[in-house]
């Protein structure tokens, strides 16, 4: 890409008890195919587990896939835990079954972007390219 920046590193995370991982796996694979380094947590992660992995793996952003209706609890929990770890520069985005009404509320709580059903993986890749920068790199 002609920059000195290292490759982007994204954590795709599947919080909570919901087992619908079709979307998370497709996104993980599409990001990897687009040349982004991807770490996938696997299923059934607590917010604490997700934040610990994000810090340990030194990722630039966390993408949460939630289809369980628990989005209003889980997104804010991850954002708060990142802040507590002084890692608020790790962007949090996500996708899944999320009613329109909840989108502005989640953005107000610090979610950078939400991708609803029918979004192409290309749209997500482009958003990441435009909005996520390697942590610590000059903006």
């Amino acid at each position: 890409m002609g920059t000195v920046n290292r490759q982007l590193r994204i954590l795709v995370a599947k919080p909570g008890l919901d087992g619908h991982d079709r979307g998370a796996k497709i996104i993980a694979r599409a990001l990897r195919d687009a040349g982004i380094e991807v770490v996938y947590t696997g299923l059934h992660q607590t917010p604490e587990m997700i934040v610990a992995t994000a810090i340990q793996e030194d990722v630039d952003a966390v993408g949460l896939s939630i289809l369980s209706g628990a989005h209003m609890t889980i997104f804010p929990a991850v954002i708060e835990l990142l802040a507590a770890q002084k890692a608020s520069d790790i962007k949090v985005f996500g996708g899944g079954i999320i009613p329109q009404d909840d989108v502005p509320k989640l953005k107000a709580k610090g979610v950078a972007e939400l991708f609803l059903p029918g979004t192409s993986t290309q749209t997500t890749v482009e958003w990441i390219r435009a909005n996520v920068k390697p942590r610590g790199a000059a903006a």
Partner: protein
């Protein structure tokens, strides 16, 4: 159709001349829209199918009559002329009281069977107050932790008169025990209860991913339920071998067919292996298919499934009773095919899919609601979904004759193709040592992830058009109303659980849980000890903890 050799020769001659003349001329003027046409499973489709295209075409051997081997045309001799399919709308959200209200609403509006969705904590074996349950109580289904919740869930619903389906797997033995306890408290003995427990763990590891312990002990407990029901609950379906979740996770129709039948074979193998006579339990095994968009392929799938199961049960397990060979099934329209864009279009998708299930000869059907890409359905959306079934049943006329698509060259050819291709996959699984081994090796999981990724790529390259998503988009309309689950449900459920624990006999609970543990360690059937534990108000989480302690916890490897 069984054609004589002369007939086939005449058909072949006619087709050759049609291909050389009319078809060739027409293609000069107007070439085919696509280089190749194929079904959603990737089966290439010729311009026309006729008697010469069909490999087997032995009408009596492969098609036959409804209610008679190999049951391609249906499991019963009368089908919908005798009794319509059961209209069974899956429901469950919020507190047990919320869902009880929805059940009563559905019964008043003409559903003929109940179908219970449990929340994620219940499915995974956690009580409402567990840290893993945070934010999830009552969200994707009804919240239940103890027998007290089951009493409220079925309050005022006479369990002697309805049949109830319960979609629950890892904790299925506990849910069945609670249902039995509620019924017995109502005065209905367990032998009189009718319904279905999903109780199919193999597809959990393959697709739905709501598990507790590793696959080996999980399958063993599935079979404990089958054995218990064979002995004590003759009207109950102890397992619903489910293709639905496999398909929703991205499998093709052929993969759904193959993996599901292979799961069924694995349960039968386990039960036979512990010394049960196949004819003592096989007649209560039931199935559950997805109904997706490719209309004829879906119809063919139902027909092929019945034929495959009958042949496998007869030849592999030497089942002798007719009922042991029957594949009876529930079906649900494909949630994954619904779109958030232009949601009213979903009504049309559901109608077409519901029609395919009926033409495939389903025994029971759930039609999805138009708003399910946003949230659990509203009452209004559920009503439209139910009315869709009622229109198919009472207005379309398709109920008036049995298996109306039989004899269609295309449908019979596709039925043959589905069977052949699915049997190839089943042979591969047999060579791996059966489905339990294949699941432990991740074989079906990988195959499904591949298919899911291929589907997504086809949508993104516009090789596959999805109306309103990558074609025929329109400006966003006004948002539709969606159901909100009360955020207070969790706190209320935790409080109720606290009261249950405060008022029960703690020593009796401990004794009952020790009984469950002893059965689990000894490899004995766990059902009776679980019934004793739930009656003492031992909770779903406490009983699950016993199994986690004895068998260990299963974890996702995070492969993608």
């Amino acid at each position: 159709m069984s054609f004589s050799t002369e007939d086939l020769a005449a058909v072949l001659k006619e087709r050759s001349s049609w291909t050389a003349e009319e078809l060739t001329q027409a293609l000069v003027r107007l070439p085919r829209r696509k280089k190749e046409f194929h079904t959603d499973s990737g089966i290439p489709i010729p311009d026309v199918v006729d008697a010469t295209t069909r490999r087997s075409a032995n009408e009596l051997r492969d098609v036959g009559y409804p209610g008679r081997f190999p049951f391609t045309r249906g499991p019963q001799p009368t089908m919908y002329r005798g009794r319509l399919w059961t209209m069974r709308q899956f429901a469950g959200f919020g507190s047990p009281e919320d869902t009880n209200k929805r059940f009563k609403y559905l019964l008043e509006h003409g559903v003929t069977g109940l179908s219970t969705a449990f929340d994620m904590p219940a499915l995974m074996g956690y009580d409402a107050d567990h840290s893993m349950s945070r934010g999830e109580v009552g969200k994707e289904g009804v919240a239940v932790s103890s027998l007290r919740d089951f009493e409220l869930l079925f309050d005022g619903i006479p369990l002697a008169d309805v049949t109830t389906s319960m979609t629950i797997n890892a904790t299925a033995p506990i849910a069945l025990a609670m249902y039995v306890a509620v019924a017995e408290a109502q005065g209905t003995p367990r032998a009189k209860l009718g319904g279905t427990l999903q109780n199919d763990m193999l597809k959990e590891y393959i697709a739905q991913k709501e598990w507790m312990v590793p696959p080996g002990p999980a399958v063993k407990m599935n079979c404990d339920v089958i054995e218990f029901c064979a002995r004590e609950m003759p009207r109950w379906n102890p397992v619903s071998v489910s293709g639905y979740h496999i398909r929703e996770a991205g499998a093709t129709a052929v993969q759904e067919l193959a993996f599901t039948i292979a799961d069924g074979l694995a349960y039968v193998q386990e039960c036979v292996g512990r010394g049960l006579d196949v004819d003592s339990f096989a007649q209560r095994l039931s199935f559950f298919w997805d109904v997706h968009n490719d209309f004829f392929e879906e119809v063919a799938k139902f027909r092929a499934a019945r034929r495959m199961w009958a042949r496998l049960m007869r030849d592999r397990f030497k089942a002798r009773k007719t009922e042991s060979l029957l594949l009876r099934t529930h079906a649900q329209t494909a949630g994954v095919s619904l779109t958030a864009q232009q949601p009213l279009n979903n009504v049309v998708r559901v109608a077409l899919q519901g029609l395919a299930a009926v033409l495939g000869g389903t025994q029971s059907l759930h039609t999805n609601s138009l708003d399910e890409t946003y949230a659990l359905p509203t009452e209004q959306a559920v009503t439209v979904a139910l009315r869709t079934q009622q229109i198919i049943a009472h207005e379309s006329g398709v109920d008036r004759v049995i298996d109306p698509l039989a004899g269609s060259h295309y449908v019979e050819w596709l039925t043959d193709e589905m069977e052949t291709r699915a049997m190839e996959l089943i042979t591969k699984i047999d060579e791996m040592g059966g489905m339990l081994k294949a699941v432990e090796n991740g074989f079906p999981q990988r195959e499904i992830a591949e298919s899911a990724f291929r589907w997504q790529r086809e949508v993104e390259t516009e090789e596959r058009l999805v109306v309103g998503v990558n074609a025929f988009q329109s400006a966003e309309g006004a948002p539709i109303a969606t159901l909100k689950v009360d955020e207070d449900v969790q706190a209320a459920q935790i409080e109720r659980l606290r009261l249950v624990k405060a008022s029960r006999d703690g020593a009796a609970v401990a004794r009952a849980l020790a009984g469950v543990e002893r059965a689990a360690r000894d490899g004995a059937n766990v059902m009776l000890p679980i019934i004793a534990a739930v009656k003492a108000y031992g909770t779903l989480g406490e009983i699950s903890d016993v199994f986690r302690k004895v068998f260990g916890v299963y974890r996702d490897d995070g492969r993608f």
